[in-house]
Symmetry: C2
Subunit: 384 residues, 2 copies
């Protein structure tokens, strides 16, 4: 009998895989994490090995809120912060607290495709709001909200990856952030701000988080250590109104077992205490900036005319628009035969569309493979 | 501002805490886990730090199924086994797959009180089936099932801690296990067998798991490393029909983030590969057996007449029956004033009852504290 795999990613020999939105193995700080693990299981290990509690652990909450204060100038109080098992777990937990089956969720078009699956599992219907290179159209979101509500629909929340979006790479401008924060307050529309890529800026930091623009407003901000440290830690955090933090952290699952990523939460606390995170993020930005640059250069060189893309200013992805009559899903087998893979754009649209888009990930592969992969993609597109 | 705590447990000076169902700090294998962590983050660390997948990881699934085969004589195929973030997460995930809000769940009276909270969060109504020193009454479960179904109710599943139950310490007899397996098949009643304490037997192993008695039947068995290794790892496993494993492991949350306890799953795989688990469990059994014996001896010496209890043959708890007119919840403040805590029995009954019971945990405290705590409890009961 064959043993099942250990990891999600499937690497196919001969294919440059731009489809997987994963960090490169060589960029994961294994040695530094080994130091953090040794510290966690060294002298004072008891807290890391016994039951945590829902919001938990206090030492990591304290380290995160002080770091946020240092980076962003706003130090959230501990009662607004909760540790999660990554953004996926946070989204599922938020669905449980904020929605009922049959509710609508407003999402950007395009949006993170796997969030759509989490919403669907909770019986929610995703309704797409158009976006552009500057993020979601707030006016369109407002119009859609009114239309849905006047039709008797219950809109549970709006979900957006505001900085360096997946798949678009787009960043919501400061103006639109203020507008969205104001809309959220005015209409009591809960907004979930997925800030998974916020620290991974390559040119300049993104505008302030929406969460910071509407103190006390109906905003939840979710963050993650999957991209800045390691996905396998399954660790993230959530900022929300104290009441919502209380409701989430006192749910049955967490009351029984304590925080789901309790051990790695203590490891990451040790990582922060050792002062290892900031230099690591610095190095990661440099490495990913150079990969991003290699991809942009290769795209300019190899893409046929009629293809366009925005220079992503952060995150993992470049979102390529093909000529209108090109279907990226239909083209994929030919591209793979030419030795390059990507994710077809249509996966990122909750209500259809995006056939002439594709998502390229530049975080996983070394620069020379990126250049070669884009060359192959250009050739495949030219052959059409 | 005060920093939030790191752990669930609150220890109050001067009080012998029999209420917390936690393992003793000195019984957690911190040093051996440090070896496992060092191995995990040593040479071949990539799989442990990147994204896992829903069922995951293959190496741990393989180690667990071979160990089960060695211990129980039945080696489950990999397609029936899935790694979980502990039993609480598994129960929540199973509720999502097996139930709809409004459904009924059959539970034992008494049953694990925090499972009731998880079921409630999913909108389920727990209906109690009487149990005794030999576990749940299968005939009563069948009668209840028929009554509910004929009343138009949908029964999602029956939940039971079959070996060394929490709080009762009772173990379902082999005869009742066969009867329950037959009932499950005959009535297509899904049975969730919570096997959290199965390895912690102090006199003789429990009867075969219900799961093994009904191959292909509607049984799910959930296990955990919280009691035999460390709660903070948030790691467990689930045995179920391949189709149910597939549905659980392909849900949106796991599709996006991979297995929730991915890193500690790799640590525990290393722990097993290093051959550390069996000797640890052996030592744990010896330590807990001796604590159990100390508690039984102290109970015989100090309990007033009219109090009865069964000698728990495994697990963490002894379930004490007080005289019928004694209310354990009402007595608790006086007991705490006398320096001893416990959990009142009524918490473990889904539909009321149990006022004259209390749960004592013998896994957390050293033997001398156990003896002293039982002495104080006896005195408090005598003062009544």
């Amino acid at each position: 009998m064959q043993i099942l795999p250990d990891v999600q990613i499937i690497q196919r020999p001969g294919i440059v895989e731009f489809g997987w939105g994963h960090p490169a193995p060589e960029l994961l700080p294994a040695e530094a994490l080994a130091r953090a693990a040794a510290l966690t299981l060294g002298g004072d290990w008891h807290a890391a090995l016994t039951y945590g509690y829902g919001q938990e652990p206090g030492r990591l909450i304290e380290l995160i809120r002080l770091r946020l204060g240092r980076l962003e100038g706003v130090t959230p109080p501990a009662e607004q912060l909760m540790i999660t098992a990554g953004i996926s777990q946070a989204l599922d937990m938020l669905c449980a607290q904020l929605s009922r089956p049959g509710d609508v969720v407003l999402v950007e078009a395009p949006t993170y495709h796997l969030a759509l699956r989490i919403f669907r599992d909770r019986g929610l219907r995703a309704v797409a709001v158009p976006g552009d290179g500057q993020g979601i159209h707030v006016d369109a979101a407002e119009a859609m909200l009114h239309m849905l509500r006047s039709g008797g629909e219950r809109v549970a929340f709006l979900y957006t990856v505001a900085s360096f979006g997946n798949p678009s790479g787009a960043t919501l401008t400061a103006e639109r952030r203020y507008a969205l924060a104001a809309l959220a307050r005015r209409e009591s529309l809960m907004v979930i701000e997925d800030d998974v890529y916020g620290e991974l800026w390559y040119d300049a930091p993104p505008p302030p988080p929406i969460y910071n623009l509407a103190p006390g407003g109906p905003i939840v901000r979710v963050g993650s250590y999957s991209k800045v440290l390691a996905p396998g830690l399954r660790l993230g955090w959530m900022l929300a109104a104290p009441d919502l933090v209380r409701r989430c952290s006192s749910c049955g699952v967490l009351d029984s077992g304590g925080g789901v990523s309790h051990f790695t939460a203590h490891m990451v606390a040790a990582f922060l205490e050792l002062g290892l995170l900031d230099p690591h993020v610095e190095g990661l930005r440099a490495a990913l900036r150079s990969r991003r640059n290699v991809m942009l250069t290769a795209l300019s060189r190899h893409m046929p005319s009629g293809c366009t893309w925005n220079p992503s200013l952060g995150g993992f992805f470049i979102w390529v628009r093909l000529p209108t009559d090109t279907d990226s899903a239909a083209l994929l087998p030919a591209a793979e035969a030419a030795g390059v893979g990507y994710l077809p754009g249509e996966r990122f649209f909750a209500e259809g569309g995006g056939q002439n888009y594709l998502r390229l990930c530049f975080s996983l592969l070394p620069p020379d493979e990126i250049a070669e992969g884009v060359r192959r993609l250009g050739a495949a597109l030219r052959r059409g």
